[in-house]
Symmetry: none
Subunit: 406 residues, 2 copies
């Protein structure tokens, strides 16, 4: 099967947003073994959208549209595709009910537009917005219409479009993501170069913020065959890079660390300076975390470090707020204040100002106090304020994980 | 002038990288007042690249290519465009010298390919890589060939392509972004429908997470003329939607609220339950915030709410942790504990579990204590855990902002 993607939206053509949907869809289609030769972006214009539609269907069997399903007059994807296929739009009262439920009883008149669906189409439920998705099959061509916002399109594609596409394929594609932390992409690439040159399974590395990801993909007659091919490659990667692997698939660092805490029944509390709550918030992203995380304190000021964490004024004076000594006392202090099993501290210089020659922007200390023992990690990160703070969160989570596993 | 962008690279089609170059180029071309109706992505395949080239030039005067200028055999953009224009490639010894200089004296044989340039083309210097850029004009069509890596294409476009394009244009384009909170895209669309139907200035809405953005763009002989056209439309939008406007251009909600706090010299402290540090972290994203934010506390558990914030056990027992009464006591408590001007509290049910009929997932209370007076906002948000928590942050920031401005 050949596919194309058409992203609809003037906001992409004028550069207001990055077309991340195209990357998401490309990655998923590739994983399904579906070929793609072209991607197109077109504005909210019916003539040009129709032309893009015609061109894409002349080259491909499956065209996935993202965007243009909203309630406003310039949202035209559904109308244009229906016209292209010569299919009328029918009003669905059950969609009105869904929209009402989503909008808490409200139902602005303009949303009425979203309750019209091309005749004969399959309706895709939208759990995160008012625009339903659509699958329309006619004359051996398939149009899949999806909403533009990433948080709407992603679950809709994974939960509803992928099973549909998988059912149409006569082989199975499986893939597994290996997540590595503490090693660069170039080094990972060198280490698994021979595996990357294979054609089935394929191994492809990607550098994400502060981590490297290896995707292993295999094509086979059955899911089990594909999975065992993947497992063999995974074992080989583990042999070479095991010390850097922290998780697989959707197990992000936050999820991995949270799962360890929940599994062992270990409580944790954080004392955050430069991350200002981001470390706690990252743990807080994981449902159910409140059973092992009852409190954390953001202590930007020295006063707050003394008041809540009992950091000694002498330590602050002698070594400064960004020091191994302060990180240690913060970790001990939060553990004691919270009565938690593990106390974690982060103190550092996020920038853009505040750096000195001795303590440059990006300098970080992370303390972990467990069973009354504190280990402090000193790091020098690079990049802007956001990157330094995000890096601090990843290192903080990893430090908790390593300490539990030690 | 009409333009199109063609991004060349199989790595985009398989989802390995996001096409951020397209956004960069779109934004810059829009600012230059150059219209763009289509963008295309095509793989490293000579037949399909030539077809994409032919199609783009049939619709546009200017086609900008990114990628495919590298030294390897699958880099084909230059060869394909030269063939399309029926122009030979000529060898340039001065490019060999530049590459040698860039590579510190080394000159791998494969780089020889990069020293060939279509006859009659303008060569663009690459300060951050070995691939020179190219501007080729023929038969009133312009091809601009740029390297793929963002750090190479960005300076090359800004420093060398923009002056070239500006010299060809006889008008200027300006734009302004209006940021709205507390109103949906559909309602905004209804309210400014007549303005959205205008052609100069244009007004275009789009929904971001928890906010709606309107972009006003105007084209004129001078920047001043364009700006005053925009200002007239902005005033009209303000008249209709002023109560929802919180900022303009790059002034996100976090930046707007932080700027107000910094401007008024008001200190703030947060007591967070379901947001688990995200509200404080959002303020912490803004450089310099530590002069008005010295501490915050994450209090997931009732114990922590009592211990740090002095929430009364009776209140918790009578009304529960997610209640207006608890939110009020939390806001008072954090203000007092921190000795801050403003105390903010967030308590709610982020889900996916923990909801009841009486207190469903998405129920939130936000308290703001200022000058010893507390106002509590009750909200019912929708969506998954992440969306509820992100919405809580936006509402929390907005509540601080509103209270200061009240």
């Amino acid at each position: 099967m050949k596919a194309e993607i058409i992203a609809v939206g003037t906001e992409i053509l004028v550069g207001d947003i990055v077309n991340t949907n195209a990357q998401f869809l490309s990655e998923r289609l590739f994983a399904l073994g579906i070929d793609m030769y072209y991607q197109t972006v077109v504005g909210d214009n019916p003539v040009r959208l129709k032309e893009a539609c015609r061109l894409a269907f002349s080259r491909a069997d499956l065209v996935i549209f993202s965007g243009g399903l909203g309630p406003t007059d310039d949202d035209l994807t559904k109308e244009t595709v229906a016209e292209y296929f010569h299919v009328p739009l029918l009003f669905h009262t059950e969609i009105v009910e869904e929209i009402k439920q989503y909008l808490n009883g409200r139902y602005p008149l303009s949303n009425e537009k979203q309750a019209y669906i091309p005749e004969g189409a399959q309706i895709l439920h939208n759990a995160y917005g008012t625009a339903p998705g659509i699958i329309l099959e006619k004359n051996e061509k398939i149009a899949v219409l999806l909403p533009g916002p990433p948080r709407e399109i992603m679950p809709m594609f994974q939960d509803q479009v992928e099973p549909y596409l998988k059912a149409k394929s006569d082989f199975v594609m499986e893939s597994k993501v290996v997540r590595l932390f503490g090693i660069g992409e170039a080094k990972v690439g060198e280490t698994v170069l021979d595996l990357m040159n294979g054609s089935n399974p394929t191994v492809a590395p990607y550098a994400k913020d502060n981590e490297v990801i290896l995707r292993i993909s295999a094509k086979a007659k059955t899911a089990n065959d594909a999975k065992s091919m993947i497992e063999e490659t995974r074992k080989e990667i583990e042999t070479r890079l095991g010390e850097y692997i922290y998780g697989y698939d959707e197990q992000t660092m936050a999820k991995t660390t949270a799962a360890l805490l929940l599994d062992r029944g270990l409580t944790v509390a954080c004392a955050e300076s430069c991350t200002a709550g981001r470390l706690t918030a990252a743990l807080g992203d994981v449902p159910g975390i409140s059973s092992v995380l009852s409190e954390s304190i953001v202590t930007y000021s020295n006063d707050a470090k003394m008041k809540y964490l009992g950091v000694s004024p002498k330590t602050l004076q002698a070594h400064g707020a960004v020091s191994a000594e302060t990180a240690e006392e913060m970790a001990r202090g939060i553990r004691k204040a919270a009565g938690a099993d593990i106390g974690v501290s982060v103190t550092g210089i996020a920038g853009p100002d505040g750096g000195t020659e001795e303590k440059p922007v990006g300098l970080l200390y992370i303390g972990v106090c467990y069973q009354d023992e504190v280990s402090v990690l000193k790091l020098q990160l690079h990049g802007n304020r956001d990157k330094v703070r995000q890096g601090a969160v990843m290192h903080g989570l990893n430090a908790i994980r390593k300490r539990i596993l030690a």
